[in-house]
Symmetry: D2
Subunit: 228 residues, 4 copies
């Protein structure tokens, strides 16, 4: 399950609109748009829905979070091997709504690699983006917390901060693929993000809470396509 660039990552969060069959429907829409446009779309459902969705769609499914533990006595925590077994091929790490202790980000990235999971580590400003890149995740998604969920896009509202974040990331570790997120809700936002040298976007409400998620995904994927 290869992740091609640019990529659109859809975080299902814990929205009512994305639980169970409703999430599956969004995932199937994403699969269709991805097939039609050739643009990679990743979906990140809740842990309880990973298996349901991974079984029925042929696009990359990510977890929203994993814990840094090895198999053992860790009641209620999320084992990298368990999300992989359920069909996930990657995971978000350190999302703005689920921040981790630095040493745990490091260990989580290591554990994810052992479980053959790709990692998208999230950051809240350019300095933290740089800091995360020193830990070698596959992707680093810069998301200013004050724009998350607002519909005001980071790529249009703070273009110079995205540029600064991408520059710092590249300087620290050019292997890490830069993404950005927060407020992304239109094809234009996606275009802007890619023009700022990111390789894609991380978003949630812009698609999940849209009246017509498939239409928004289509607009975004086509915008991404035009940047190629």
């Amino acid at each position: 399950m290869k992740i091609t660039l640019p990529v659109i990552v859809v975080n299902f969060k814990t929205y009512t609109e994305s639980i169970g069959e409703k999430g599956l429907k969004i995932a199937k829409a994403a699969e269709e748009i991805s097939n039609n446009t050739g643009i990679c779309i990743v979906v990140a459902p809740q842990h309880t829905d990973i298996r349901l969705i991974a079984n029925q769609v042929n696009i990359p499914v990510f977890a929203q979070h994993i814990d840094p533990y090895a198999p053992g006595s860790h009641t209620g925590y999320i084992l990298p091997e368990a999300v992989a077994e359920a069909g996930a091929v990657g995971t978000l790490i350190n999302h703005s709504e689920h921040r981790l202790i630095l040493a745990d980000i490091d260990e989580t990235i290591r554990r994810a690699k052992e479980a053959k999971l790709k990692t998208i580590a999230c950051s809240n400003n350019p300095e933290v983006s740089a800091s995360i890149c020193a830990l070698s995740p596959d992707f680093c998604a810069y998301e200013p917390p004050d724009l998350i969920g607002t519909g005001i896009s980071v790529s249009t509202a703070k273009p110079e901060v995205v540029t600064k974040a991408v520059e710092l990331m590249q300087k620290i570790n050019p292997q890490v693929i830069p993404l950005c997120g927060a407020g992304i809700s239109t094809g234009k936002d996606v275009t802007a993000a890619i023009k700022l040298n990111t390789k894609g976007v991380l978003l949630a409400s812009g698609v999940v809470k849209a009246k017509d998620p498939k239409a928004v995904l289509k607009e975004m994927a086509e915008a991404a396509q035009k940047t190629l």
Copy 2:
């Protein structure tokens, strides 16, 4: 999906032995023993396996943990409604390996009720057991942390502490059903627990890591049956 007493609750933790199909096999063994003996056996798999197991067995499936949040922006957390939608009928709360802030235990129990999930709140000593009972979970499982995973059973090693815990719980809130756990690995341990006025046991490695989980479950369920 009614929970009858006495009950045997099997926590799958994040053991290698209980991921995915392996967990399903243990759940099916539990279902068979439960059918044969009439003793209620609850299984608590990892979140990623709840749907898989709830779809294929006809015994109560619990989550190992839920978070106190309402639907919304809580990336990577475990929504009560999501585990319910996946097929869980209850949840562990505040397990010794996943302790919660007091106000969150209170809120989690409230949220679980809203999602129609039964709650087993765990405690580490008699005082904390009493404290938890003031928050009105359905069950309170007292588990001394120093015995968890040892194979030395709380019901034989610390009978007087179990008795004290049960007395305190009943005094604070006689509606809460007392369980005990830690080190439970034989039918004899189950018998001892029930004789100490608990209504069942919470266990993990004693079954999950046993050479023959079904044989252990059979021994335990038959021991429970004899106390009726």
Copy 3:
């Protein structure tokens, strides 16, 4: 250093207005009012100011928080013995802005007793108040989080909830002395709190951020005096 009832507890929080010499000035005002009225006033400065204030005033000084640890390798945490050695005679526990894991509240109360510190454990609703009383702190201060810092007093805005909280606390453990807090800023608020069967109030901004903290303390202490 005996704590007599009713008691007025002034939490200095981390306000600019209460750091160092500024906090000492408020503490001296509290001492003077306490001497003049016979009403016990407790001050809870930041950890760095405990020694400064305890050395120079003759009223009870409390810590705002302690950690549940025994002496050892716990860099940056607050040892019960250390705050006692600096002159504190008690501590707040589980303040709404500093909530603790349930098992840690239990252990912190135990550790405080070992260090001969009185404990005021805070709660956010009647159920949590009851839950805390099962752990036998010396005092339980019920503070609805939505009123903290508003100047809208719990004792006038939610009298029936205070009454319910006090009743639940007394039922669980009549040894625990009930206090209430949130929004307390006038003598009238103190009177109302005591009429609702609490034995005093916990407050912060009402005094610390007042134009004339001494005048507010005088009004409050005189109001408390009239209830005797």
Copy 4:
């Protein structure tokens, strides 16, 4: 209060041997040795002892931890401005025993600068050391957790890991001054640490729990002096 290199940083932790007057005695010994050798010795007492010690010794006093908050409603947390007002000129951050969320390390370093506090951020391996250096603390102290408190010195047991950590740190941010710690208990350990291109050591039990802390400090400072 200038910090000259190489530097010896003594973390008092929450040891019984370093509370109050006992800590002051160790600080006075450190001051005497520092005056005699010209080697900078920093002491990091508990928060309750910062003022006591800073008032009476003329060497740099650091906090063991600060919180990332601005003045306000943060009951029981450690305000940068409060430790500065009490006499501290710097602080440890993210000690192995007190690990922080990545975004909080970033914010804590920023808040420390605002309060004119020097920062020693701690790390547990070379990658995390690099990650921390991207956040521009004044110092980064690499301490492998498995050697802390053992008396087996990082500089003799893991010289190649110290070298790797220092190289990574310098590559990411040559402004950050590298230190190392864990198991440092003799002058020889200090010599070894400095030969590995660190600019000093962070230690605790090696001095605080020594039979004769002053003698150990003398041996260490003289060893440091010989590297000049």
